[in-house]
Amino acid sequence: MKKDIILAGVGGQGILSIAAIIGLAAIEAGLHLKQAEVHGMSQRGGDVQSNLRLSDKVIHSDLIPTGKADMILSVEPMESLRYLPMLAPNGWLVTNTQTFVNIPNYPEKDDLMAEIEKVRNHIALDADKIAKDMGTLKSANVVVLGAASPFLDLDYQLLEKAIAMLFGKKGENVVTVNLQAMKAGRDFTLKIIKS
């Protein structure tokens, strides 16, 4: 088993929480893990990414080679496209469609969506809307994680357990809300791949 994942977003959007949930689940599953993060200047509203690598064998490089990533998991549509050179031909692109506009020359959303449509395996969902409808806008990142979960080759219960571990300190309500958010994202994807 090997899963190389690029997590993408804008500084402050919470991709490191996604990494932490997947990481906890992977450790619980007895897998090896390496996760390279971006700290420092880029965190001030710039593009950020994290290389998350899971494997049942020893992992050497902290960085994923180009064209070898099994998945791009993005909480922002333009950021999902920035890492296409990393994605393997049969890899999945899972992205939030809600734009994060903090630059004057941000492109038209339709143009971005047209490019996302061109990627053979893709899941695009408005995670912000799904989260908001559930009354938990903050959990949009966990909705995207849920949408990616069918492709992670990780036992879903381990992801649930990881959420309980990570958010346990913040109270039972926060755990429940995030479990629902992940489930909503997962259901979105399961519906698409079954149809």
């Binding site: 001030r44 992992i59 050497h60 490089s61 080679p65």
Partner: protein, 537 residues
Amino acid sequence: MQKLLLLGNEAIAQAAIDAGLTGIFAYPGTPSTEITEYVQHSKQATEKKIRSSWSTNEKTAMESALGVSYVGKRAMVCMKHVGLNVAADAFVNSGMTGANGGLIVVAADDPSMHSSQNEQDSRFYGKFTMIPTLEPSNQQEAYDMIFYGFDLSERLETPVLMRITTRLAHSRAAVVRRSGLPQNELRLPSDLKQFILLPAIARKRYKGLIAKQENFILEAANSGFNKYLDGLNRSLGIIACGIAYNYLMENYPDGDIPYPVLKITQYPVPRTMLERMVNECEEVLVLEEGFPIIEELLRGFLMKCLKIKGRLDGTIQRDGELNPNKVALALGMEVTEGAEIPSVVVGRPPSLCIGCSHRDAYNALNEALIDYSKGRVFSDIGCYTLGALAPFNAINTCVDMGASITMAKGAADAGLVPAVAVIGDSTFTHSGITGLLDAVNDNTPITVIIADNATTGMTGGQPSAATGKIEAICRGVGVDEEHIRVIKPLKKHHEENVKTIMEELKYPGVSVIIPRRECIQTLNKRMRDKAKATQSE
């Protein structure tokens, strides 16, 4: 033993705690910050009473650590690569004094300059100071090397440099802990003149340092961190330093490398190991993160008798960090590429936060300077350096910590009046005060803006040594009380702020303007923590 999922930085910190650390000293700087933060937040460190609060700069940190070592206890100093320039005087001379208690200096290099102004290679400093240097290739090795490093430091009475790079510092992996060691007892040096570098003593110490080199090399040959892995195909030999080894292994998923490989993670490198590779292989490929140090060493002797491949002959790009692809190409392998980045994707550079006080300060400064010719604003290292970008385009220099005040002074000395310096509060106490004193002593006509957001912002909001002290420092240095002006950088005070700055630009001496408002990030965090505290009541 316990297995933890740790950043490279956290692995180093945990190891130091476990290895009997007494004090850690540092100034924040990406990619090194999390080492000290981990100790600050560690319950074990608190229980063991390990000293860990921030130092004013890397030099004070290095010297304090040397003091801990002097009394026989274990100390660690952490900094980003350019921080070692600031600490260099103390660091280089610590090679001469040697250590008493174990002393490890961690320098975190930033090849590709993710968050830095250059990509200098700290291994040079290790060689320059003539002390052992460790360059771990992964998180576990980093953990283990701290135990070894403290032991080496005490056995051979020398400071030890650990050089890491961004990818190790900020990458997480599982680390197995060892059982802990107690802190050392207070034990002054057996020779109470060991740390007196008077010429007569220094000459003796230098002979001693030279004599130690042989032992340092023996350590590097026998510690087990440097490995010679033989291979049957000797058309090529590969030298892989630090994390470059991982990128090499990544290209051989089954682990079967046909060529001899020399993995280097400890310096000074034993000549015998290099000689063996050079003698037995037709060509040698050198993979090293940062500068071509080993490559240059080999070329210097052997350019004529064998082909060395690396960064100097173009086999590998001269600048920028390594990755699995660059190493694959150097090995003559094919690399895969995904689809191209669609042209619709545009860059998203970092920017000042919405609500940041620096925004209002720059808007006021730009307006105050509107009638003067452009190119008069000398700035410094911190979040406010982002004022160089649109829409502000407000500053003209960013060189090193503290250079804003001194460069403005030089420019004013040479006739550019008014000249403006923009420096943050934490950078001011780090390295700005002495420059301000120079300006006061010369009565140089400069306007110094000390943007006080009460934190060290860019590195994540650590406490600033300047908080609550700036006016007193300026007065103490000799700035005229009437020309120390505090303003509130808010939109509603814009006109007033512009007026204040314009007045001081006309003053033919040293004036200080302090735009003061808390960093929006630390403010938000404080509010969140407060809300959490009220909830749990």
